[in-house]
Amino acid sequence: MAPIIEIQNYSWRYSYAKMPALNGINLIIEEGAFVGIIGPNGSGKTTLAYSLDGLIPSQYRGIKQGAVNILGREVEAYPAGALQKLVGVVFSDPEAQFTAMTVEDELVFGMENLGLSVPEIRERLEWVTELAELGQLLEKPPYEISGGQKQRVALAAVLAMTPRVMILDEPTSMLDPVSRKRVFDVLVRLKEEQRNTIIVIEHNLENLASLADRMILLSNGELLLEDETHAFFEKMDLLLENGIHPPGAMLFIHRLMQEGYYASRLPLTVDEAAACLTEVVARLKPPGPASSRG
């Protein structure tokens, strides 16, 4: 598919900082891809996310070099409110992004901003409510639902605007594991059913690795690695060096690979890893006495 995001030699330095937050980033993201961005805190992930949505440079003071193009147009060239129709962002703090008094109002807010009509709103409302499993929550005010539910509402609210690109900036960092999983479940459905381009910034790799088509490593404002997911994780040493902790199972199989026990594709999930391990053990384990056969 055609590229939807093109970043050329992009650097951004916040006016209060001595060092640039992003330095010479070159990146092309194709439409429909599911991309994961990882990196230590302070590596520029959020800055990158904000740059794609136009929040940088419109809301923040700093110096920009290079270009960030969405659909062939520079981010600054879009009139106010137009870029948001194309690019949606879900932030990390569920509290701070609930902008209305009830869940339904929240879901509808973005659509009203777009000037959609009541029937259109009703239709989309039904759709996102079903996708994010919010049916029971529509009438509830923000203080009556959990952080995880709020994040699903935020996701649905942005999705209701049907942006072509959805960016999620550490959407699950403040959530417990169950809520985290439910947010990712919505992302799984999104990936399967829609053709949005989805960019997820995360620390927690266990859920992300199995979903992403491509992964990006940012460190100290620089793009160190960008590749298809399996190939990405095979560069485990680079990841470890840059403070990334891959999921335990993946790391384990990687160690097996390093020590020569295994030489095939790196598994991305526990199930895949279990299959790998079973196969390796079966291959290497000394055969037991005949009576152990069932």
Partner: protein, 278 residues
Amino acid sequence: MNAERPFIRVVNVSYRYPDGTEALSGINLDIYQGEFMAFVGQNGSGKTTLSKCLNGLFNPTSGDVIVDGLNSKTTSISQMVRRVGYVFQNPDHQLFNSNCWDEIAYGPRNIELPEPEVKTRVAEAARVVGLPETYFGEHPFFLPKGMRQRVAIASILALQPKVIIVDEPTTGQDARQSLEIMDFLADLNQAQGHTVIIITHDMPIVARYARRVVAMGSGRILADGPTAEVFSQPETLAETFIEPPHITQLAQRCRSLGFDPGTLTVEDMLRQFKELVA
């Protein structure tokens, strides 16, 4: 673990919020000196409420919390915080002094220690958390988040409590920062003898650092035991909606191959593997 009496005894504690919701029911727990524990459970399971009962912030609606022989209901807050320290998740909720030194001194001054004593404690606490002297005069608001958290921890350490409870030490931190803070807590525990309790969702961290896990759900304790044991009980874990760390899940999935379902680290798994194929 000591065979002597527990430092904290929680006896049949229940807690009911003013609007009627029951946050804790029938909690019984003994906490000994020198433990490194994790409270885990879904949001709303009661782990935060229980922790706040341990340092006297909340008084149980029924039952008793006995800390170092003192009943929390009849002991003043200043006596309680000398024994049990609580570090809140968001340092912004507690930092308000105009410089870090005063911030750390705040606790000792509150419990009315003489100024020379306060000075010693502040210097000691700052040293332990690794706060450089250059930061002493800085305003906490402008520090990076990691530093703010250290100042918050130092301000509790300055009270020199025997037990320190840390709420979500690794949320929002990247891998390296998480390890730094956890290593620091582990050092507090091993080298300085503090009892450390972490409230967290981060299962790999729990697996790596905590020796005892208390899993809660719906205001009750659903599991309480050594980490490996708790993680290898799938039924209990399902109730608490907790998933064990990735590596433990792998070990459990490959149980039939001979792996220990309580495996907590990659190193351990590797060791078992080598023994299996040797």
